[in-house]
Every structure is written in structure tokens, then in C-alpha cells.
Symmetry: C2
Subunit: 338 residues, 2 copies
Amino acid sequence: MNIYDISEKAGVSIATVSRVINGSTSVSEKTRTKVLAAIDEYGYTPNVFARGLGLNTMKTIGIMCADASDPYLARAVYYIEQDLRKNNYDSLLSCTGYSHDVKKNCLELLLSKRVGAVVLVGSNYVENNDEKNTYIRKASDTIPIMIVNGVLNAPNIYSTVCDDHGAIYEITKRFIKSGKKKPIYIYSSNSYSGIKKLEGFYDAMKDHNIPVSEKNCHFIKSHGIGVHEAKNFVTNIAESGIEFDGVITSDDILAAGVLKYAKNKGISVPDELFVAGYNNFDIAECCEPELTSVDNKLEAICHHCVSTLMSVFSEEKSVPKNAVFSGEIIERSSTKFI
Amino acid sequence: MNIYDISEKAGVSIATVSRVINGSTSVSEKTRTKVLAAIDEYGYTPNVFARGLGLNTMKTIGIMCADASDPYLARAVYYIEQDLRKNNYDSLLSCTGYSHDVKKNCLELLLSKRVGAVVLVGSNYVENNDEKNTYIRKASDTIPIMIVNGVLNAPNIYSTVCDDHGAIYEITKRFIKSGKKKPIYIYSSNSYSGIKKLEGFYDAMKDHNIPVSEKNCHFIKSHGIGVHEAKNFVTNIAESGIEFDGVITSDDILAAGVLKYAKNKGISVPDELFVAGYNNFDIAECCEPELTSVDNKLEAICHHCVSTLMSVFSEEKSVPKNAVFSGEIIERSSTKFI
DNA sequence: TTGTATGCGTTATCAA
DNA sequence: TTGATAACGCATACAA
């Protein structure tokens, strides 16, 4: 079934059929019903390739994320896909992993598929070494690039982020104000957002005149790390002679590992040790004691990202290039803030 | 840049350019290099729409899942997308939710996008009321349908599942053998896999001459349920006077809720109460005590699903319609099996 | 080995 | 309000 068949069945030209399909107003009610009836009867669907060929777009958006099984990224992909489909766009998903070459490759692949835009989900896409971001900038010459939780300044690149710096700053401050003068920070990523969090910790410590060094900032490499690796990592820190009365982490799973460590050593949380995570996912509630964490407003961020993209498409005059949402500290029993 | 431009630059016909692009052998080495040089110089990429129009395919596979933020589904999507891309297929993702109408709608949308196949991820796509599966069967007239963790028998539908019945049967048996004569089962889904699990519990109980009734099988409605709802649910069961010395659940998050209940009531796990979950995700390790759970072999299932699809595409003679993987019980400290 | 010509199913322009 | 027809960019059957 193609447009010719329908035009024949309905006794009109293909131009008229096309008009009906695309909701043109210049079709008489009589012919419209005639055509619609034929379309309905023969179950005709326009060929998207032919349409794409003419219009040079198929209303498809590329979504790139490093790892769709990561809870944070998975949720983001979920929100974004749903919002896009509400706007009649389909989503071409690409799980790129964390290697720069693969990311670059995937973006080019998406470009070759003529997607209307690409959403980069996760702060890992923006590299500190700006030269490595060239491939993203280049892509933005062709189509808009939306970044969720990362910032890259360029004409056709739009960013929506959580104020990770502010959230970690605030949580660190509350640790200190509550009497925890020796907090340490554990993080697992040097991405844009990872750096912001680290700086938040750093600034809060500095503002309270507590010296910061490699003794209270600890980087644990690798993504998709498990609770037990995290537990061992903290155990090693403690056994290396570093003293701490609070642990702030860049991710709930790390904090869960800290709780395991505390339980194992008979350290009482929160009395002897404060623990806080980040992201506020299921895990935070499953822990014992339950975990204080930061709600990163992911849903709001994703909504904003998609609605911004739609604004870009509709060529509205002024579209915000960068948007920042504030994280919210959700206190549970792993801390007792004053 | 299109194929005409390149043919002109290279001083050959468009047919030759096409041949080079598609790796035809009947092109002299000399012309090939000439053409490749032109392609490279002008950064030409074939127009996928034009290609799709002629070939009636764009090497795109639809992936449908109810909720890409659900850990189980997210991991499945991740594995499948990666495997597909290794085979040079792109993935059109559709998060459908759990409503029948939306699912049907999404499948039709995917069909209208001329995807080469659709992968239905999650047992929730196969309904008990077989009439509701009609839309899936109908789609299979056009393209192969792959189901991950669900079974639907039809000519062009292929299923890959975990033996959920066997896994729950085995775990229930081990509860009983270990002296827990009053286990209860809590589940949250009546999907294909949900029913299989329930039957596994039922059969194990029956085989050990323990009567089964609504007193030891409890259904808690709704997806995306939290730990606290689960905890309250178990608390209600206990307070309604039902006695139990073991809880087997269809999902880790439910089991995490049971642990919260036990902790709250001062019930010792595993001494007084055995608890087991299902899926064996991060959460199982975060719990205190850590959770015995079932590894559902999701990665193997997804690999198999994609490789089966590739076999279907290559029109191999015999492709297995249904494949079953065995789950593996991972024992942790929430049980003490004998 | 290479080139010519045609079809794929739309949308859009222009004329009626 | 309608219809005829030209793009859109590629793959491929057929000819050379």
C-alpha cells in the first residue's frame, strides 16, 4: 500500500492524499472523508523513508549514554525518551561506554543516521581536556546538542545541570556545623560533575578553615563499582591511619560501602560517623541505617532538556543556553544534622 | 554532498561509487582508491533515507520496555543495544509503561518506522488473556518479534527466558529442607514470569505436603514500589495473624522491605526468619544482612536473544524458537541453607 | 570492469 | 480546491 494505491482507491491524485495526511486545510471536507476512508480501509501508513528523503528528517533524536544500566543514566534515558515521544520524536539509543573513541564513533554514527539532535546524558561526555570535546562541537555545527549534567559552551549546545557544587558544599557545611570536624570525601569520577562536587567539598572545608589534602579527598577508580569494593576502599583509608568522623560520597553505592565498613568495625552511625551519599535512589532506602543523600532533581532536568530542545526546533527567539537546578538534601538516619 | 557529487569528483559514474560504498568486488583497485579518496576528501556519508527507501530497511531494531529505569529492564536494554550495535543495527527505544493500549500503540509506531524487528523486554508484554496479545501476533506477520523473559507461541516470535519456575521451586525447597516449614511468598506481578515464579513456589510446597492458600501467597500491586511500602505490606501480613518463618519474594526490593520489617520488629535474620529476593542486583548486597537472591542470567539471555535475531535475519535453516536459561541461587546471609 | 536508466514513496511547486 | 510533475539520493538490473 502506497500513496498511489490510496489515491486510486479514493479517486483523487496523490497530491490530495498527501494533503490529507499532512492536515492541509485546502482540502474539501468531502474529499477528505473519502481519502480518510480509503486510508482506513486499506490500513495505509506513509513510508517514513520516502518522507525522510524529501524532508531530510525522520523526527528521530539520538540519545547517548555511557551505560544504560547505571541507575542514574537509566532514569535519565527513561525520562527523556518519554518526553521526546510525547513530542512525536523517536529515540535512537546508543550506549557508548566511557571510552573517548567509542563515544566519538557513536556520535558520528548517529549523525550519519540524520538524527535531528543528540542528547548526551551524563557528565562524562564533557572532558576536562577541551581538545577531546572537539567532536561534540563539530557535531553542533549540524544539529543541536543537548547535554544533561554537563556544560560545554558553544553556539548550538545547550546544557541542563544540577548544582552539584552547591549540594556537596551544603552537605559538607552541615557535617561540620554538626560537629564533624574531620569529614572525608570519596568520589569515583573526574567528569564535569565529578569535579564540581569535589570543589564543593573543597570550598566548604576551606570556608571553615579545615585544611584539605589527599588525606581527606579520595578517588576510587572505575565505573560500575560494587559495595564491597567501596567497603574495602574505606577500610584501607582507615587502616592507613587517616582519621575521620564523617564520609561524604559522590554516589550512593560508595556510601553503602561505607556503612558496610562501619558495621564491620562496630562503628556507630551516625553517632560516631556521619555518612552521606548522592543521587537518592532505591539503594539509599535499603541501607541500614538508611542513607542521607542528595536528590539531584533528575526528572526536572530531563524535562527541561527536552522542552528546551523543542524550543530550539521551533526557532523561538531566546532559548536559555544553560540551566541549573538545585539539589535537595534528603536527610535519613546515617546523619544527625544540628 | 551526494553520490552524484562524489561520482563527478572521482570521474566515475554513480553506480561505481555505489559499488565502492557497498564493497562490491567488481571494482578495479585503481578506481576504488580514486573513489575512496574523493569520499574521504569531501566527507561524504550516504543518505540513509534514500538507501532505506530503496532497500526498505534502515537496519534499525525497535526495543520496547515498560520502564527503562527499572534495574532489570535497564540492564536488559543495555545488553541488547550493545549487542545490536555490534551487529550494525541501531536501536529505537520505546518506554511504554504497563498499559496495554500504550504498548499496542508503541508497537504500531515502531512498525510504521519500518524497524527490522522488535525486541519486547520483560515478561509484562505477554498477557494471560491471550486475546490481548493479538497485536503482537499481528506484528509478527511483518517482522520477527523477540521476547526477553516471556513466551508467546507463533511462527515469527522467538522467546528467551529464565527458568523462573525452577529457581523459585529450588529456593522454596531449600527453605523447607532447612527447617522453614512455614514460608510465605510475596510477589508483585502477574506477568508470564510472575505466574511461573508463583507456580514454582506452589509446586515446591505441594511436593512437600504443605498446603498453599491465600495465607502464604501474597500479591502486592503496582510497579516501581519502594522499600517502605514493602515493609508495611509484610507488617500487615504479620499483624493479620499469619505466622511465617521464611519469606521468598519475586524481587529484591520486596525482600529489602522484609528485612526492614524484621529489623523493626527485632526478628533475627536468618535465625528466626529466612529471606530471599530475586534478580540479584546491587540492592541485594547493600542490604543488612545481605540478601540471598537469584541470578537470572540476564546477560546470557540478552546475548542469546540478539544472536537468535541475527540468525533469523540470515535465514538460517533452523533457529530455536524458545530458549530457557537456568537461574542461579546466590546465597548470602539472609538465609542459612542446610 | 564500468555506465545508463529506472524505481523506491514521499513532499512541494506550479498550473489549472 | 485539485492535479501533474519534479525533486530527494540511493541501489540495481541491464547494457556495453
